[in-house]
Amino acid sequence: MVIKFIIPSVPSEVSFTSPLMVRGFDDVDDFELVNPVNQVGLEGTLIQSCIGFRRIITVDLGVVFDKTSRVFLTTWMLAADRQLEYASETLAVTPRDPTGFSSVIKESKYFRRYRFEVMDKVPLTTIPAAWEYTGAWYDADSLPIFGSDGVPIYVRT
């Protein structure tokens, strides 16, 4: 499934047609509670509350061969507002690590692999649209998987 990196203020965008993994976007994988508060009563009772949650989304683009796309990723990270489009949802995101990102190079500098961790920019209190999406097919690591939750089709390479 295509994942699109969008800079809405320009606007400009780059699509990646076969990411190795998109985790946390279209189903319940990783998330964090926003402003979690832990209180302990005098008698030892625990009280916990929060104001919402943020998805933690991991996008593994695999090796990005096109230099223009690689440069765009930097522009995307520099933009004040960034969006991802996937599983029928366009989502404003913020990087989990605001200090930067690096490629993963194995054995050759000609094959640069990129993996991003981002979060919902705005806390959620209801189920996001992409979590309701059930028509997705997946690429997961090196084992492509097609189909859906109900009818998975494994293709071993």
Binding site: D30, G44, G52, L143
Partner: protein, 272 residues
């Protein structure tokens, strides 16, 4: 596989069973000696088949709830489906709006049931609940504390920390060091630390329910081994994540770790 039921939000009491239900095939009574909550339980000896007795109440909107929760005890072993709980929008419970089938019951054991409503969203005016016997064979039945709750059931690989001694949180968990170097602790109570992994095979609805409403709710409970335990997450910031089995999103497991919300000085009944 072991099943746990997770529950969150505020329960709606349909019938506390501290007052008598109304007779249909048989006349029920209030047992003020053998009960689970409040001051009594509904007690009846069934006969024949059909509606045995019912409890009515002022019209209640339970359309936002998913399950009916109650305690039940039979004086002999009964098969699953021998009884159903009727939920009705009629005060006399003469027609069913939803019927919830009882699980198999063990003689003399209070069983905590959380039975899923099939048409919850339409139940904006529930007015009565009734006990229906579906197969012949008279049985003494107790029912207590009938609630409408928001819950979801999950299969797990096994549950730690609830029905046996696993991890505990001591209260107060402090240590004093005396001037001579002696260290003293004096905890007066403890809470359990329930842990389990939700097995792969969950539906999308079950997965979404884990976050909205469960993770966001300030009131949460685990129903397991005929016990309801109020809990909070061990990690309040990142309460849980999925594990992709074999690296694929098709098989998601969810390791869950909780703390018992309150503390106790005596062993819970499920340890005995």
């Amino acid at each position: 596989m072991e099943t746990v039921v997770l529950k969150c939000g505020t329960d709606i009491t349909l019938h506390a069973c501290d007052t008598a239900w109304t007779a249909d095939a048989v006349t029920p009574s209030v047992d003020t000696v053998d009960f689970k909550e409040g001051t009594g339980s509904m007690s009846v000896t069934t006969t024949g088949t059909g509606l045995q007795c019912h409890g009515s109440f002022s019209s209640i909107d339970i359309s936002a709830k998913t399950h009916i929760q109650f305690y039940v005890k039979a004086d002999s072993d009964t098969a699953a489906g021998k009884f159903t709980l009727r939920v009705s929008i009629l005060t006399d419970c003469s027609a069913a709006y939803d019927t919830l089938s009882f699980p198999a019951l063990t003689a003399g054991v209070w069983t905590l049931c959380a039975l899923e409503l099939s048409i919850a969203s339409a139940l904006t005016q529930a007015k009565s609940i009734g006990l229906v016997q579906n197969t012949a064979g008279d049985v003494g039945i107790h029912i207590d504390s009938v609630l409408a709750v928001n819950a979801c059931s999950y299969d797990t690989y096994g549950v730690k920390g609830l029905d046996d001694v696993d991890g505990i949180r001591l209260w107060p968990g402090v240590m004093n060091e005396c001037p001579d170097g002696e260290r003293r602790t004096s905890p007066s109570a403890y809470g359990r630390m329930p842990m389990f992994t939700i097995a792969p095979g969950t539906t999308k609805t079950q997965r979404l329910w884990l976050v909205v409403p469960f993770a966001l709710a300030s009131t949460k409970a685990v129903l397991y081994a005929n016990e309801e335990i109020a809990v909070v997450f061990q990690d309040a910031e990142v309460p849980f994540s999925s594990e992709w089995l074999r690296g694929t999103p098709i098989g998601r497991a969810y390791p869950m770790a909780f703390l018992e919300k309150s503390v106790r000085a005596t062993s819970p009944t499920s340890w005995s």
